[in-house]
Subunit: 352 residues, 4 copies
């Protein structure tokens, strides 16, 4: 059934938003074919009973999870499971010869003690975890190309780290002054029905959550610390916004050199991301709208300097389900397979 | 604890949207005091653990449902339970001397066979049901004043019947041509978490549901039939709209007299509703926006005649949770208690 | 500068939503290149000063409208101007050898008297108008292939006619019973700033407009009349929905044969649209959500029969700016140029 | 016509959102009567031609602005004009014996040089301006009671200063570390039609604006500086949120005493606001949703301490058009007139 010249890929945990995004992107990817969709509670159902708009395009059932079947059928496997499950599955799949991209938090941490402290889960796959690469291509392109196991970044860390990396890497800011005020559409909460995610509750309203204790904090800190080669603690506050998709991360930090102006920083950012076609640095005085990135794998970045306070303010906008999740995973797959990094990934949003 | 001069009221099924609307309205009602909040799954919790914005105003727990306690403490009881439960509770409460207002479908039908056919529930309270009055004050004000048991109308029937009644009562339209295309905000679906009611699913989208088989159809037909003294069948199609509150019912019917013009009908409607202060007939060429009614017990009605087709188009807008639910229940209570019908009911929306 | 093997196309009236949708679609079309963007009030500005999210993709200025320049540079010209302007431009462009696709109402009517009566504009291009073809490929594919001038359908007529055509063409319904209750996102109102289109006014609200006199009525009637070879009058009521994109058209009609069931109609629709890859007939009991079509050139159709009333209810969902406007224009261009009808047109929405 | 026992009030600049909010609140205020509505571009129109939902409640025309007429008819005058106009009007009205409440920025600044620098307007009413009181009752209740001229605070400063004042007044934070990340619904932009405020543009999107140069910055700084008796510079970034009403201000600052915990701060805030019935301090771990405040004059405040970073995070939520504008003006009027501060002001939102 499979095209001889296409790579067979599978998705374990296909029923959620990560799953349907992957399905949508992989259907238009020229080099792959979806050979397996697996799930737990949805096993046995047609995929399109969950997503009827794909009725005329997808004719796959959601199968129960059998790693032998998966590995037999697929060269590349995406894991879209809740936190704490991928760490039981990935070692087996890799041993059986699959390349694995995990969308959960399980393989994002170099230091498993941090994972265990914030995610309250013990685990026994330390050797496998050591080989995992953090799947942010703009920072770790070379390692991703060589890797068999990718821990795909969280949505907030993706937007935030793309905003912060040039500043940290070039030593332009005081790391301890970093404050991240992030805003996300509600699709980031997944497809599980929760009262606070109902339209009747979440529409026409706005609030913060996870203040001072959101789990993306140590993930952001890990990469920041690596960039400046010292331990960094950041302030991170996420907010739920009455919209479906999109993240805006507004990042504040004190500049080390008060003489730096906006133009300097735009030049630095353009240079830093010159090989990263998905990152778009905006010209002077233009700030990103999340809608510009929706339906794409792009990250738009706007930069401002406040000479009155000596701070830089960086705003980054992504689609939380694409660059913040499934699209970035496909970008990593492209690199792992030796393909053009941008293959099959959308780069033009519909506006308005 | 209760003020000597205030009437004690209770709410069974207080945790949902009907419950919180009742609490909100009753808190500002000058003649009553909330003496009891009851629930099943939420029993034992503070009411404000479900609705923290009322922390500084309400200090009641949700108690488990004990009809002796309720009847002992309250003169008036509102039932905000799922369909099929009130019919087991109302007879006892009435026997113990309470006045009862049921927000479910249980006491809306004169003909219990219709109820049983559409709601798939047997029941044994036929004698009680016979005494129930359909709680639409604009049509049944006198009966409500005399009643001990009110079956409060559904949200769609409220908007639709207020739009249709003058036409039917005056014999101005062909009853079999009535088509009702109704649109509701998602709060009509209640507070239970369902996937299709998530903001991520329902926002920026629109669709019909219950086409040709929604349970509000026989409820609308029952009252229409009574108004014209013959059996009427209507076409009723509800749609889910990406907004929190509000219903717009767009009603189409063929005029018997093709010479009738819009001005005639506006005059007829104004006369029909001259004693109904909550119904606002709009002047020539103005059509209602649901937002105008939000946060109020009002119903706005706009009327248009199409001389090309001989049809009348009537549009009615209400707040589905107030005039379509809790506000109308309070309006009925006011009538049952001999108070001014409008007591404690909001009549001015916030715009925008 | 132009690729030798690409067809040069131009857009006159590029600054509005029709314009930016065309730009977006044409940028990803494999056979064309945008060679000209023209406008009036925006002439002299960079296109991306209006749409900064395209900064890294489009480097064209909006030029003032000079038909010699346009015709010299472009083989195909899209007109995205307000009603009443294209009729002054199209004859010249055609005389100079361009193929023309007009997004306004100017070339939608065979009978110019109807146009003049509803649009209140005199015009002197009757000979040109006679040669125009109504750009609904699912009905007029052959004529479009042969034409030099396309009057692209309105957004509501597109959704409505796709819902109605099989019923009318097969003589299955009483034409005079047709009622169309249509709902549109606010982008249909264009990019001109109007108070009633502000988010603060239009969000969380819903209302009808143009009741009994919307200009899309005669456009729908013209095609319906042609399909049944008799004059048809329909009832058409549009509503403004608090969302950006999407149209749902809910169509009611009385069946001539009361024995027809839903399955019969689904079979008939599938047969009618078997060569129309953009029309997706939904299986039994599934009704379309507008979101399924957003960002695509698809039209989803759901069908229901009500045996109690003898009516059929058909619901069709499109993206008003793509299948309802710019995408359909590109679809027509593909036919005029002898390309695959679906070339460069998106067929997979992002969900949610 | 006026009730003998009611105070006559007027609104100059009645056609915008500030105007309609004032009308709505004053209609339900027990001690006043609206005796005058004035405007410029709308002069001569019925007020309800702009706001048809009030057709059955308001029968006033918008009159052209004649200060003799206004002063003759009204004891209290609200000014709802664009910045830079009230300073030409207020001195005359006060000289004629009116009490004046200005909703624009004209009378918010003690130091007119700051006003002139940020608002780019010269003015000649320095003597009048000196007597104006900043209309934030929670801080300046006594002065407001004695004043004839109130400069009503901006919407962002209201939310922000209520969040910050206890910290600054008690010397608990380092003032120069204050970062304010604020989010507002689009009604804050007023009723003038602007492209970026269209639902089609602003819905399902999110972005910052006025970064490092928004005019509410010096207004916030003026009051902060007064509270700590030293010059303070704050970082203030507003964002536009896809919703109609509501502001959330998320405020970050470094605590001077790292041993302070959340409970301490909640105690301090409750003490600070013990006489301010509109300010609601939330219990441990509860963060405000803007929706809780919508349609009320309340301000909800949630507090969190991050022991990892030594920072306090305070979140405050208001309705930008009520506590952030018209409601606060009415609250000030109540104080000026010697009435109960809360008279006629809504304190219970509709939820959801």
């Amino acid at each position: 059934m499979a095209h001889l010249d296409k790579i067979a890929v599978g998705i374990i945990g296909a029923s959620g938003y990560g799953g349907v995004q992957l399905v949508r992107l992989l259907l238009e990817h020229p080099e792959v074919e979806i050979a397996y969709l697996g799930g737990d509670s949805s096993a046995g159902k047609k995929f399109t009973s969950l997503y009827p708009h794909l009725t005329h395009r997808v004719d796959l059932d959601i199968e129960k999870i059998d790693l032998d079947v998966v590995a037999n059928r697929c060269k590349v496997v995406f894991l879209g499971l809740p936190n704490g499950l991928a760490c039981n599955i990935a070692p087996t799949l890799i041993a059986k010869g699959c390349k694995v991209l995990d969308l959960s938090a399980d393989y994002r941490f170099r230091d498993l003690d941090t994972y265990i402290a914030w995610y309250k889960k013990e685990r026994a796959d330390g050797e496998t975890a050591k080989k995992a690469v953090y799947g942010l291509p703009e920072l770790y392109r070379n390692q991703i190309e060589q890797s068999l196991l990718i821990g795909c970044p969280g949505c907030y860390p993706t937007a935030t780290l793309l905003a912060l990396s040039p500043l940290l890497k070039q030593g332009l800011i005081e790391p301890e002054t970093v404050i991240i005020d992030a805003k996300s559409g509600t699709s980031g909460g997944g497809r599980q029905a929760k009262t606070n995610m109902l339209l009747a509750e979440a529409d026409n309203s706005l609030g913060a959550y996870g203040v001072a204790n959101h789990r993306h904090t140590p993930e952001i800190e890990q990469i920041c610390s690596e960039l400046v080669r010292q331990e960094v603690r950041v302030q991170f506050t996420p907010h739920l916004i009455p919209m479906v998709r999109g993240i805006l991360s507004t990042v504040y930090a004190t500049l080390r050199d008060p003489g730096l102006v906006r133009d300097d920083l735009i030049t630095i950012y353009n240079a830093f991301y010159r090989s990263s076609s998905f990152v778009k640095i905006l010209p002077n005085g233009i700030y990103p709208q999340t809608k510009w990135a929706c339906g794409t794998n792009l990250c738009y970045i706007g930069i401002e300097v406040d000479p009155r306070t000596g701070r830089v303010i960086v705003m980054s906008a992504i689609d939380n389900l694409i660059k913040g999740q499934a699209g970035q995973a496909v970008q990593c797959m492209n690199l792992m397979m030796g393909w053009d990094e941008a293959l099959g990934l959308p780069q033009l949003s519909f506006y308005p």
